[in-house]
């Protein structure tokens, strides 16, 4: 039936193709859109307004347009011919859908849509009269090509004393749900460079913490770049959308109005959005949350300002120096200093420290660019995401193994070029410093220090320059202890015994924390890829060390056999690296069955919250040392288990070892970009976020006072 209906129009389309000279759809052709005028009630009551609808049944695959048609197209409009004294309200359009065509994006409707209008009847109406409404609906219907259509529509309604809902009543109530809804939330809009930033808080949708997708349909066609990605960030119950503005606009943006569409796991709905653009603000200043915001202040969460973020990133950087994988690198540098301070002048030492800083900052810049690129591409990002890549984990494990070999003295790097005193050596020394800086960053990434979560989250959600600035603050903190030592070497030298064989032993000892970290990473890899990945990384370690040994046996010799061995050694090392980078498919982390906890899912959490059950949520990952320590020391203890059981608390555990968008969204909603996070939801009360370092007592204390204190 429908197919048959379509044929004349395809013919019409062909006609347009082959005879481009102003072909027009003839009046005898059946239109692509069936337009009917319908009324909600079966009659009109004198002096009572009523609602009518313009219903469009659109041929499949074709679409008509919203108020703002997007890049091309034309909004449906109507020219009314109403009886004297009657008026019609502006058309109320349901929130449209995206209609992409090539690189362009349009806003409109396919299949069917009903556009509403409220009619005020003429004053003098008597029972028994008939009210006739007439109008001409102009619309543009497009698929690949566009066809303009005009439809004369009319509707006759009897004037009655008491109107009852007519045959279309259910369609009207369904249509009203598709219109943008009224709400009480606060809305703001501002421009930041070539971006428009709009916010709404609290989110008007039910289950607002689980909003997965949002889109702003602007009324003004020159406001935004329609096809551009709209970046959504949730902080607590506030949503922020960042949208590239339309470059062709030449007048300042003053008012921002449109429909804000939101979707979570359960429903989708849209809301009126209207805001005046705030006076230009420095991008660095974060708007404080609205005064009466009913959101609990979350520890280290939303609203952390620029300076606070910079400072805590800096502090976190200093703390990173103490992490098991970074400490050996720093120690090594410090030991090198002991040698250098004796042999070189102080200026060179200071320059070495600055080059080390440059290495750290450069690596953080590269990291920042990658994070920004991922964000631009629409990925949800967080700190520690690099560890969700088995290739990255394996590469760092092999790197740590190799550094251990160096520390042990099995491999001597650059022994031939670090000739004492020569000019070249000074230069190589600085190159070395630069790469030590880079190395420190790479080995530091697995460790999330306290303070870092909030600062890095802040950094990741801001404009690109701020992201980089926060990462630089982190890098500066990381490099600072060594920088200080280069400036004031006496601080260290005074407290150390005279250089001697102990230094060599200490250096060898440092191999063990490196290998320990490697063991841990191999264990993480096992969680991600199973036994296959372990085989790859251990095999790579075997080939790497064999290759290195082979090279050593051939060193300083020039005969053919030695050359062969060296070629073989290089081949083995390359093979080791490629074998390591070529990790097997990751295994899915299946929902773990345990009597003690359940796997986290947004639906399960919503269900438990709805049934007024207290819930404890733990977001963890195999590569997060803090998480594992907390589980071991607090959550898995009999004391806490017993407390959960006695108080009927359901324990939900989310595993972020591999990427999981639900968990990323959950972390984001609390202003975090990494694990761990511990949240207690008392029955029927606001959630409480627990500290990042747990003991059985802190858990029980927080849970027993949860929702009543703070």
């Amino acid at each position: 039936m429908q197919k048959a209906r379509k044929i004349p129009f395809l013919l019409a389309a062909l006609f347009l193709f082959s005879f481009p000279a102003y072909a027009q759809i003839g009046a005898n052709n059946e239109p692509l859109v069936k337009v009917t005028l319908i009324a909600e009630n079966d009659g009109v009551v004198p002096s009572q307004n009523f609602t009518i609808g313009i219903r469009q049944d659109i041929t499949p695959e074709w679409h008509t347009y919203w108020v703002n048609p997007g890049d091309t197209g034309l909004a449906t409009s109507v020219k009314w011919e109403l009886p004297e004294g009657a008026t019609a309200s502006e058309l109320k359009f349901p929130t449209p859908h995206k209609q992409p065509t090539g690189d362009l994006l349009n806003y409109g409707y396919s299949d069917t849509v009903t556009i509403l209008s409220e009619i005020t009847p003429p004053a003098a109406l008597k029972k028994g009269d008939t009210l006739t409404l007439k109008g001409t609906v102009s619309l543009l219907v497009c698929k690949e090509i566009c066809i303009p259509e005009k439809h004369d529509v009319s509707l006759e309604l009897p004037v009655v004393e008491q109107a009852s809902s007519g045959a279309w009543a259910s369609l009207f109530s369904a249509t009203r749900k598709l219109l943008p809804q009224e709400h009480q939330s606060a809305m703001t809009a501002k421009t930041e460079g070539d971006k428009l930033v709009i916010t709404i808080a609290p989110l008007p949708i039910a289950a607002d913490e689980m909003v997965e997708e949002a889109y702003f349909y602007p009324h003004d066609g020159l406001l935004i770049q329609h096809p551009a990605k709209q970046q959504l960030i949730l902080t607590g119950r506030k949503a922020t959308l960042t949208i590239p503005t339309n470059h062709t606009r030449t007048t300042p943006i003053e008012n921002v109005t449109g429909d804000l569409w939101l979707r979570n796991a359960m429903e989708e709905s849209s809301y009126h959005f209207t805001a005046r653009v705030e006076k230009k603000q420095e991008a660095a200043i974060v708007t404080p949350p609205a005064k009466d915001e009913p959101v609990k202040k979350i520890e280290g969460g939303e609203g952390i300002g620029f300076l606070a973020a910079i400072f805590s990133a800096f502090l976190a950087g200093i703390i990173l120096n103490l992490m098991p994988c970074v400490f050996p690198v720093l120690s090594l540098k410090a030991l090198g200093l002991v040698h250098k301070a004796q042999k070189e002048n102080h200026r060179d030492v200071v320059i070495g420290g600055l080059v080390y800083l440059a290495g750290v900052l450069a690596t953080f810049t590269v990291l920042g660019i990658i994070l920004i690129a991922l964000r631009q591409a629409g990925h949800q990002i967080g700190w520690g995401v690099q560890l969700q890549s088995p290739e990255f984990v394996a590469a760092v494990a092999l790197l740590l193994f190799f550094i251990g070999l160096v520390l042990m003295g099995f491999v001597t790097i650059g022994a031939s070029i670090v000739g004492a005193g020569s000019k070249l050596a000074d230069k190589s020394g600085h190159v070395g410093s630069f790469f030590t800086g880079a190395l420190a960053v790479v080995v530091a990434t697995p460790c999330t220090a306290p303070f870092m979560g909030a600062a890095v989250f802040y950094g990741l959600t801001q404009a690109a320059p701020i992201t980089v600035l926060v990462l630089w603050a982190l890098g500066f903190g990381l490099a600072l202890p060594y920088l200080l030592l280069t400036w004031f070497p006496d601080l260290l030298l005074k407290h150390l015994p005279r250089p001697g064989i102990w230094m060599e032993h200490f250096k060898q000892f440092l191999a063990f924390p490196m290998w320990a970290a490697a063991v841990w990473l191999v264990w993480v890899l096992a969680q991600q890829t199973g036994a296959g990945g372990v085989l790859h990384v251990l095999g790579a370690a075997l080939f790497l060390s064999f290759g290195l040994w082979l090279w050593k046996t051939a060193i300083h010799k020039k005969n053919a056999w030695a050359v062969t061995k060296r070629i073989l050694a290089v081949a083995l090392i390359l093979f080791a690296i490629s074998c390591n980078l070529n990790q097997p498919e990751r295994i899915s982390t299946e929902a773990v069955k345990s009597e003690y906890y359940e796997s986290y899912s947004p639906a399960r959490l919503a269900e438990l919250r709805a049934s007024n059950t207290p819930v404890f949520v733990n977001m963890t990952a195999a590569w997060c040392i803090t998480c594992l320590a907390n589980e071991k020391a607090a959550l898995a203890t009999d004391k806490v288990r017993k407390y959960f059981k006695e108080n009927g608390i359901i324990y939900l555990k989310g595993d972020w070892t591999n990427f999981d968008s639900d968990i990323t969204a959950y972390l984001k909603s609390f202003g975090r970009s990494g694990v761990p996070i511990y949240v207690f939801y008392p029955a029927g009360a606001e959630p409480v976020v627990l500290p990042q370092i747990l003991t059985p007592d802190t858990v029980i204390e927080n849970l027993s006072t949860g929702g009543t204190e703070k």
Binding site: F17, P20, A21, A23, A75, E144, I145, I369, A373
Partner: protein, 201 residues
């Protein structure tokens, strides 16, 4: 590792958007093209002349609106009365798409319906994409110094009814007159309306 490579690939892509967008007040980008009569032109070569660019597609109802009663031809004649002014009609419909013409058809189309200076076939879409032409019609006005002074719709009433033409403000004629008299162009950028330009996929 694949993810990292992908990230760099994305950075690369971001720097070369599929759609350029020209900015009013900035120099209009240069482009070399050959018209249907084989004459070669370039935007830079028109320095000293006002240049009007019109994106057109004979199959598009919004273009039909302006050509079926000769309205666009009247605008073209009116515009070209302004000293040192050229009007270039550009058809960016890709081969096989709506509005794509053979050279013969294009010549016939131009001589029978158009009063513009020249007509250009841009089947590759390079010209259109350089200027970010989105719709037919989509208009651009460049002044004698090569600065883009107007971009957007041809007039103020978004419809496919030719009756609306006389009721609407013609932004192109207004802009050209303002440039000619030295007054500032009042409306410098609007949202173009019409069919999408039928670029190759």
């Amino acid at each position: 590792m694949k993810k990292l490579l992908a990230a760099f690939a994305i950075i690369g892509l971001m720097s070369a958007p599929a759609f350029a967008e020209v900015t009013v007040g900035q120099p209009a980008p240069d482009f070399k093209f050959t018209d249907i009569n084989g004459a070669e032109h370039s935007i830079a070569g028109f320095k000293g002349k006002n240049v009007i660019l019109e994106w057109t597609n004979p199959g598009c109802p919004f273009v039909v609106k302006f050509y079926k009663n000769g309205d666009m031809a009247k605008f073209q004649e009116e515009a070209l009365k302004t000293p040192d002014t050229v009007w270039i009609s550009i058809n960016s419909s890709a081969e096989g798409k709506e509005g794509s013409l053979t050279l013969e058809e294009a010549k016939k189309e131009f001589t029978t319906k158009y009063k513009s200076t020249t007509y250009v076939q841009d089947k590759s879409g390079a010209f259109g994409k350089l200027y970010g032409a989105k719709t037919t019609p989509h208009m651009f006005v460049i002044d004698k110094e090569g600065i883009l002074r107007y971009q957007g719709a041809i007039d103020s009433i978004k419809s496919f009814d030719s009756e609306d033409i006389t009721k609407a403000d013609n932004y192109v004629i207004d802009a050209l007159n303002a440039i000619n008299t030295g007054a500032g162009v009042e409306v410098t950028s609007t949202e173009p309306y019409g069919c999408s330009v039928k670029y190759a996929e």
